[in-house]
């Protein structure tokens, strides 16, 4: 970046904010045009034999490159834009507001970076993968739309705009999940929607309730409005649950372990690394953090810890590396959630917690992204590099993970939740165990499937992601963590969970190798499985049920009129023959009636 570019960014940064989501959106438009041409050519020109053909023509290489680079403007904005640009666009939606503050800057940077690496990864992905999961027009379209949503929701700060991008990301994400088209993918996609759509609705209802008391359509008007609202606790709970689905809150997490493994690797990376954070951002933006304490915050804290530890426990039983990672995401998000819950319990803690949450989020995003990419990006001994982000997650000193954990523990020290620090330590053990399990599964899978070696470019990109997750942040976030060499001072405190986890993991592996230990089989998605069956049963019942014929209420013509008609006709036959007599009766009758005054 030269000075000129920086000047431009500084001058018009307000308008440039829109560029971040607009770039992928425009590219999506290009893909549409390309896709339309191809599909039309297929369906008409080769009428009849189109079934044998590839579903669409080869997309142009330039377009793929452009697509992979679509997050670049966002990345540039995150790093170079003038301090706090903002922009108001009145005619759009209910009044559109764009802001780049510290929070969004960090998140934008991480998100853009992860999408950029994953995008490049995806663009090279086709070289090694089997046909079904290979990126095609549909994949790229969903990719770009999800990217648009993800970038937009970070920058957009009015209610409708934020929610729009959020929804866009959610629905486009579906396309990524089901991309491979396998039955598993479809099931995962269905569950993704079954969880995501109610999530959207919870968010919508929370937003509506809050907005009806708020003074402006900007998001920042919501927290005070919720705080003052008579049902503020309830509204906050709605939003907590709504965004919680995206963030993998305990009991609302079920879609994660199903959806992440089936998506193509780069998609899993962004799903787990970047998109999952949207829920978090939603919480931070709308909940009355730092303003008021909420009565259910302790419950939320408990839930967070259940996710943190339970996620790890269930994750250990998984056999598939990506599923393990997904549960790890649940567990990690649980840890982050606990910080928010602490902020909701004690508003005074929040100013200190806020930067830590951001730091932890960035750390997890990049590390998890790197791990996912590593699943198919590395091979053989190169896989050992994955231990770095893996242990970083566990909080190994000198990594970003350590920085985040140290900062977190410092900030949470005053939280009035019994045994919090200890439980977080237990969660860290769990994380370590999960990482051991992940590495183990990765090796197992690689041995079993004997897949071809990945292209060099993929390896390079994975390494890049690992690098980014390791080195970028300690320095950038030194002021948050308060130390340049994170974890050095608290080495013991940080090391015991890691060590314990490693030892436990080692023992378990050893036992398992001798056949003494078999992991209990908890299917991926745990609780959803029975729920899914129940739902399917209900749906079948409803569709088969004979319709209750409300509809016949007004159909009187064909029903009783015909019957009455036959009866009337019979009676009329008799009347016709008696006209004279009836006449006499009538004449006398009238005279009598009139006479009886």
């Amino acid at each position: 970046m030269n000075g000129l570019a920086m000047n431009v960014l500084a001058m018009n940064a307000g308008w440039l904010l829109i560029l971040a989501p607009l770039t992928p959106l425009l590219l999506a438009g290009l893909w549409c045009i390309q896709g339309y041409r191809n599909s039309y050519r297929n369906s008409t020109a080769t009428h009849g034999e189109s079934a044998q053909r590839k579903p669409d023509g080869t997309p142009s290489a330039v377009l793929i490159w452009l697509t992979a680079l679509a997050p670049l403007p966002a990345l540039l904005i995150a790093f170079f834009a003038h301090s706090e640009p903002h922009l108001v666009v009145e005619p759009v939606l209910l009044g559109n507001l764009w802001v780049l503050d510290d929070l969004s800057r960090g998140l934008l940077g991480m998100t853009a970076l992860l999408w950029l690496i994953s995008g490049l990864y995806a663009s090279r992905y086709s070289a090694t993968r089997a046909a079904p999961a290979q990126p095609n027009t549909g994949f790229w379209l969903c990719w770009l739309l999800a990217l648009t949503g993800n970038l937009g929701l970070i920058l957009c700060r009015d209610i409708a705009g934020f929610y729009s991008f959020f929804a866009l990301m959610t629905f486009a994400g579906y396309g990524l999940v089901v991309h491979s088209g396998s039955d598993r993918a479809r099931r995962a996609g269905r569950l993704y929607l079954i969880m995501a759509v109610p999530g959207e609705m919870l968010i919508l209802s929370g937003l509506v309730l809050a907005a009806s008391a708020a003074t402006s359509p900007a998001l920042q008007a919501l927290p005070p409005a919720i705080a003052d609202h008579a049902w503020g606790d309830g509204i906050a709970a709605l939003l907590w649950a709504g965004f919680g689905i995206k963030a993998g809150l305990a009991l609302l997490h079920m879609w994660l372990p199903l959806a992440h493994p089936v998506a193509p690797t780069p998609a899993s990376a962004v799903l787990s690394g970047a998109m999952i954070k949207a829920g978090l951002l939603g919480w931070v933006l709308v909940l009355p953090l730092g303003i008021t304490a909420l009565p259910w915050a302790e419950l939320a804290m408990t839930g967070a810890l259940v996710a943190a530890i339970g996620g790890a426990l269930i994750g250990i039983t998984q056999r598939e590396p990506k599923a393990v990672l997904a549960y790890s995401s649940i567990s990690q998000m649980g840890i982050i959630t606990s910080m928010l819950a602490a902020g909701l319990m004690q508003p005074a803690l929040w100013p200190a917690l806020a930067p830590v949450v951001l730091l932890y989020t960035l750390h997890h995003g990049l590390a998890k992204g790197a791990l996912f990419l590593g699943v198919s990006g590395l091979q053989g001994r190169a896989r050992l590099w994955l231990w770095l982000p893996a242990l970083s997650l566990a909080g190994l000193p000198l990594t970003t993970g350590a920085a985040a954990k140290v900062a977190m523990k410092g900030a949470l020290y005053d939280a009035s939740y019994p045994g919090l620090i200890l439980l977080l330590g237990v969660a860290a053990i769990g994380t370590t165990l999960l990482m051991v399990r992940f590495m183990y599964c990765l090796r197992q899978t690689a041995q079993q499937t004997d897949s071809p070696p990945p292209a060099v470019s993929l390896t390079v990109l994975t390494m890049l992601a690992i690098l980014a997750s390791l080195i970028g942040l300690p320095w950038l976030t030194a002021d948050v963590a308060g130390q340049r060499w994170p974890g050095a001072a608290n080495a013991v405190q940080l090391l015991w969970p890691v060590a314990a986890g490693l030892v436990l993991g080692g023992v378990a592996l050893g036992l398992a190798a001798r056949g003494r230990l078999s992991s209990p089989a908890i299917p991926a998605g745990d609780l959803i499985v029975p729920a899914e069956r129940a739902a399917a049963w209900l749906m079948r019942r409803w569709q088969r049920r004979p319709a209750w014929r409300w509809e016949d209420v007004v159909q009187w013509e064909g029903r009783w009129l015909a019957r009455i008609g036959a009866w009337v006709a019979r009676l009329d036959q008799r009347i016709v023959g008696q006209t004279g007599a009836l006449f006499v009766v009538l004449a006398v009758g009238i005279a009598l009636l009139a006479g009886l005054t």
Partner: protein, 508 residues
């Protein structure tokens, strides 16, 4: 001989008398020209056409005058001074109701004659015997006599003559069914007339006058009046085919020649009801507190339901239309009890409603019968099944059927709707919501049978290739009648403004 001294000081008199004289003249002309038509074939249609024109001009002029300056209720007294015995005063009354009915007569009469063709041998249509034209003109004259008649004697003469003419016309058709129906009708109408006659005698014996206006001023509820009134009402009810005395009507309508059915359904039935109305306005108020109004209204209500349900059972179009007439007459009767309730404004409203219903039904029914005729021409039968495909081949006929049907259903925008609105407003205004329910239910029932026809017309079935088209004149005449129901539904004031006072001046 006979000295006739009319009150010539009102220039408004003679036009009314001409309403009667002109059709009489026309009857003579058509008889005469009929005889000479071998020599002067063009004379008959031209002569009849000219008479029709004059007739229309006359009623139009009366109408416009009425709209402009309000109807002057004009009583025309024509005094007969025979050589022996006391003098006799013959009273004609021209008021709003009379004028409206005269207008209706002109319209439907003209349409029927044009539709039939103005001469006996007009080609390509179900031919009518030569006697039809003079009889039709006589019928019009009689009708106008009834509209204008203001004393029981005149009305008796009118009603009686009308009945005989109608029987004769129904008997014109050369089928056993028609003759049977005519005979049956004859006995019914004779019985009715007798009852009317006795009733009139009774009233005269009691009050010493037959003039309705005078009677209305003197009437009180007593046994003699009740008996006389009852006899007259029952007699007229028999002639009007009021339920349950409707037995003669379906066969008569269905078997008669087409133009006869048209005239009969649209006008002849109305005449009896109109006379009933005149009597009701004169004597009814005396019996407002008895169960009589309820009885009449109830008969009307049952007629609506009965007729509609029976119409729904029919497979022949003409029979369906005939049953519909019975039902539609019921609407008129439902208005009767309402005439005795509430204030003058309300009574005026109801009277307007009844008369508008007569107009609406007359026009719609005429149009409907004509379309039935077209169907017979086109397919050789008036079975309702035969309507399949008419939508494509006879669009104008279908449109006519639709428009007329809408008016019969009482759906807006149509004259039938206006009538229903007025009657229903009267029902609501006088607090008798039961009649409102009857009116609405009746509308729905009539919709069911009308839509049965339309549904058949929209059915896409096996194509009938041979369609003989009715002539353009025929189609246009029917269509214009149907169009009039529409126009009168959109502009009701010109006709309604003719009725400005309750009872048209007859009521006390």
């Amino acid at each position: 001989m006979t000295g006739v001294s009319a009150a010539l000081h009102t220039p408004y008199i003679w036009p009314h008398v001409w309403l009667i004289l002109l059709p009489l003249l026309a009857a003579l002309v058509s008889t005469g020209l009929n005889r000479s038509r071998t020599h002067f074939p063009a004379l008959l249609p031209w002569g009849q056409g000219l008479l029709l024109l004059c007739w229309n001009a006359l009623t139009l002029w009366l109408w416009l005058g009425g709209v402009e300056g309000g109807v002057n209720e004009t009583t025309t007294r024509i005094t007969f001074a025979p050589l022996v015995g006391p003098t006799l005063v013959w009273t004609l009354l021209t008021d709003g109701p009379a004028l409206i009915m005269a207008l209706l007569t002109t319209w439907i009469g003209t349409a029927t004659l044009v539709h039939t063709g103005l001469r006996p041998d007009a080609a390509s249509r179900p031919s009518a015997p030569a006697a039809f034209w003079p009889l039709a003109w006589l019928l019009m004259a009689t009708l106008n006599l009834i509209w204008l008649g203001a004393d029981l004697l005149t009305l008796y003469i009118g009603v009686e003559a009308l009945g005989l003419l109608a029987v004769a016309m129904i008997g014109l058709n050369n089928t056993p069914g028609a003759v049977d129906a005519a005979l049956r009708y004859l006995f019914a109408t004779l019985l009715g007339s007798l009852a009317y006659l006795v009733g009139a005698g009774l009233l005269f014996g009691h009050y010493g006058t037959l003039e309705l206006a005078t009677l209305a001023g003197q009437v009180s509820a007593n046994g003699a009046t009740a008996a006389g009134f009852g006899l007259m009402l029952a007699g007229l009810a028999l002639k009007a085919a009021v339920f349950p005395l409707h037995g003669w009507l379906p066969a008569a309508h269905a078997s008669a020649l087409l133009p006869v059915s048209v005239l009969h359904a649209a006008l002849v039935i109305k005449a009896s009801v109109f006379v009933m109305l005149r009597h009701w306005l004169a004597f009814g108020p005396a019996f407002a507190d008895t169960a009589l109004p309820l009885l009449v209204g109830a008969l009307g209500a049952v007629a609506i339901l009965w007729g509609s349900i029976m119409a729904l059972q029919q497979t022949r179009l003409k029979l369906l239309i005939a049953w519909s007439t019975i039902a539609q007459t019921g609407y008129l009767l439902v208005g009767f009890p309402l005439l005795l309730q509430g204030d003058a404004a309300l009574q005026q409203l109801v009277l307007q409603g009844i008369l508008y219903q007569m107009v609406a039904h007359g026009l719609a029914k005429a149009a409907l019968f004509m379309t039935a005729g077209h169907l017979v021409t086109a397919t050789g039968s008036d079975r309702i099944d035969q309507l399949t495909g008419t939508g494509r081949h006879l669009p104008l006929t279908l449109l006519t059927l639709g428009l007329a049907g809408v008016s019969l259903m009482g759906m807006p925008p149509s004259a039938g709707f206006v009538a229903k609105w007025l009657l229903a407003s009267g029902a609501i205004g006088s607090g008798q919501v039961i009649w409102l329910v009857v009116l609405l239910a009746g509308g729905l029932l009539s919709a069911t049978y009308i839509l049965r026809l339309l549904r058949q017309a929209f059915r896409e079935g096996p194509e009938q290739d041979v369609f003989q088209h009715p002539s353009r004149v025929e189609k246009m005449t029917a269509f214009l009648l149907a169009l009039m129901t529409l126009l009168l539904g959109l502009m009701a004031i010109p006709l309604l403004s003719l009725i400005t006072l309750p009872g048209g001046g007859i009521a006390p």
